[in-house]
Amino acid sequence: MRQSVQTRFILFTVLTLASVIYLVPTFVNPLPEWWSKFLPANRINLGLDLQGGTHLVLEVKVDKALENNVERIRADLIKVLREKGISGASVEREGFQVHIKVAAASSEQVRGILKGEFGNLAEAKPQQTVGATTDFYLTLSKEEIRSLRDYAVDQTLETIRNRVDQFGVSEPIIQRHAQNNILIQLPGIQDPERAKEIIGKTALLEFKLVDDSSNAEDAVKNGPPPGRQVLYGQAGRGENLGAEKAGYVLEARPLMTGEYIQDARVRPAEHLQGASVELILNPAGARLFEQITAANVKRRLAIVLDNRVYSAPVIQERIAGGRASITGNFDLKEARDLAIILRAGALPAPVEIVEERTVGPSLGQDSIRQGVTSFVVGGLLVIVFMIAYYKGAGLVAVVAVVLNVLYMLAILAGLQAVLTLPGIAGIVLTVGMAVDANVLINERIREELRAGRAVRSAVEAGYKNALPAILDSNITTFLSGVILFQFGTGPVKGFAVTLCGGILTTILTAVYVTRVYYDYRISARKLERISI
């Protein structure tokens, strides 16, 4: 018996020391250098609600990515059909379908082309011949749709990760969430508006020729001529958005897109010009750009970002070397943000923010202060109450509760779990509920004493008889904690973590740690009287 008491005493002492070591980095700042070399240096992670920051959920508009893809296929179809000499074919996109209308005479040839060169397309409906025309209805295959959707979300995630990395946020969390959503957490961010601006921009960069033969006003009134589109320049921003928008008639087909960008750099304002962003194209892009500029000298080339014309300079001469610059009315900060998103690349599909939770740093500070205050006051109340009610046994229970909190915090630090405001509430609640186990034991011991048992056997019976109820009641609370963890998001998950962690440490401290004390007294034959 004595030996077993010793072993357990040593075990819990080691456990307590280890917990203290795990908690030192959280409470000592800065850490001495030798510490981080040999000992765990992880701090308790504070949730966004405590340290401030932004939590975003973006929905990736995957359908838009699919539409874009079908639109590309449509363009390919038109090109191929024209090359094969099939005239009078009309190709339209209807949702995710492509509808081809050809003269019935050439339907066999078209069928062959579709089979040969567009094998990835499935028939949405069997072909129909009515009178002199034949209709084909084609669509993407199911697997293709699935992989395109997945690709769109994954690619968006990657791009956003690049942008956030360049934006310079420490320890961001960016992960896929549900089917088409992306969860982003940016701790400690000072300017959430700017972050959202950078993350949420599609950043589709296109170079399109300006059609100077058409008048913009006519095009707006009567609709643009075939193959042309009207896009607007950058008007004022903010409140006078849409006040004065210069319209451009552009050739709808882009000559080049942003996929060739190798790097984008900010050039500060000089002379009378505002800041600009210089694009450095990769070799393939440089060649393409040279060809484009050579073929279109004296024409205006519009630089379009997300369907907004940034500038439309006249091409003076062939441009070799693969450099282009975007000028506009931006200040240095805007230019820097633009460079970031151009470097990171375009999103394959537009995104929409469907959830945002931003907490300012001062509120986080307040929450920590209030959380700690309520923890201290609540804890003191419990301590006073337990000692007043159970005297010596109450003191033993209090020691158990203190160790309980210590172990719980050490687990949080060791597992790098996130502590949130509801998480602090969970710790406070655990302090109040953990004594339940000691109450069950002590009430049992009192009962056994009243039944006339000797102190020693009363203590033993008390522990033994109280155990099933202690286990049951903790298991049930643990179960609902697990369900909560499954259901909850962010802060609430933090509560589930401390609730469940607290239950484990409660059983350990309230049942097994306190037992060491009584067993010691029993083994030392000093348990004739008990203060309970």
Partner: protein, 308 residues
């Protein structure tokens, strides 16, 4: 110190009919209110935006309203937040046409125009899209329902093993009825006090389910023990004895939990208040329901089967 003298034998089960009647009425009232008026849903569940703003100078709700009325942000409720005199307000906007991410910036801008950019601080923005809100609503409700049923199943299995499936089922049913009671009472109290239902309230409800069942487990455990020990007494008297024997534990445990909850409620800050309030109500209700509902339910069932 002793709160409950040993040998106390209060005939709790005698009042079961009155308790059943009152509880049924209360629960029915809550259910009716839930379906007629509906709970006061926070942005987590209803969708929309809340913006918490702290002013560095005295400001009034009409001032803020005047600023916000300049732009159409889909109507809004402005209320005091935090201690009186802290100049902190909560602006709640319903679903607006503007994309979620841009709302906060717009509000910031109109406030800056009215009061000056350095005169206030946006401390918190929470925006939830309607789709996400609906999803959270569904999952929140399901999690409470599932955990309640799981508690019943746990008790059924736990006590069914030793005393036969029927007995386990009785305890389980009693526990589930008591839990439904506690959840409804808490929901009713939140509706009466006009607290908003958000994610932390669901966390509170789940904790209530997990905690309230503790008392039931402890008392059932004692009933089982006493059934084995005392053979001659009626079931009713055994149940009563068991409740009385565990009474001081029930009061103590709930008491310490209520102590820390009171501390959270008064000192933990505005964000945690609805959560602490729900737990306070739920834990008290948990004691009542265990004593006056869960245990007597067993009796109700038994007496009926005996008569047949």
């Amino acid at each position: 110190m002793e709160l409950i003298r040993p040998g106390t034998n209060f005939p709790f089960t005698r009042y079961r009919k009155v308790a059943f009647l009152i509880s049924t009425l209360v629960n029915a009232a809550v259910l009716v209110a839930l379906f007629v008026k509906g709970p006061n849903l926070g942005v987590d569940f209803a969708g929309g935006t809340i913006i918490q703003v702290k002013f560095h100078q005295n400001s009034t709700i009409p001032d803020i309203r005047k600023a916000l009325d300049k732009v159409n942000l889909g109507g809004g409720v402005i209320q005091d937040f935090g201690e009186p005199g802290s100049n902190e307000y909560l602006i709640r906007l319903e679903k607006a046409d503007t994309e979620i991410g841009a709302l906060g910036e717009q509000v910031k801008k109109v406030l800056a125009e009215q009061f000056g950019a350095d005169k206030f601080e946006v401390r918190r923005i929470e925006s939830v899209g309607p789709q996400i809100g609906e999803d959270l609503r569904f999952r929140g409700t399901m999690s409470v329902v599932v955990s309640t049923i799981m508690m019943g199943i746990y008790i059924w299995i736990r006590f069914g093993g030793a005393f036969g499936a029927r007995f386990g089922l009785l305890f389980g049913t009693g526990a589930v009825i008591a839990l439904i009671h506690d959840v409804l009472v808490t929901v009713g109290a939140l509706m009466l006090t006009n607290y908003e239902f958000d994610l932390t309230v669901v966390a509170a409800l789940l904790t209530i389910v997990g905690f309230s069942v503790n008392d039931t487990v402890v008392i059932c455990d004692r009933i089982r023990e006493n059934l084995r020990k005392i053979k001659r007494e009626t079931l009713e008297s055994i149940i009563n004895t068991s409740i009385n024997e565990t009474l001081s534990r029930t009061i103590l445990t709930t008491g310490t939990a209520l102590l820390v909850l009171a501390s959270l409620y008064f000192l933990g800050g505005e964000v945690i208040k609805p959560f602490a309030f729900a737990l306070l109500v739920g834990f008290v209700s948990g004691v009542y329901s265990t004593i006056f509902i869960a245990s007597p339910v067993i009796l109700l069932w038994e007496s009926r089967t005996v008569r047949k």
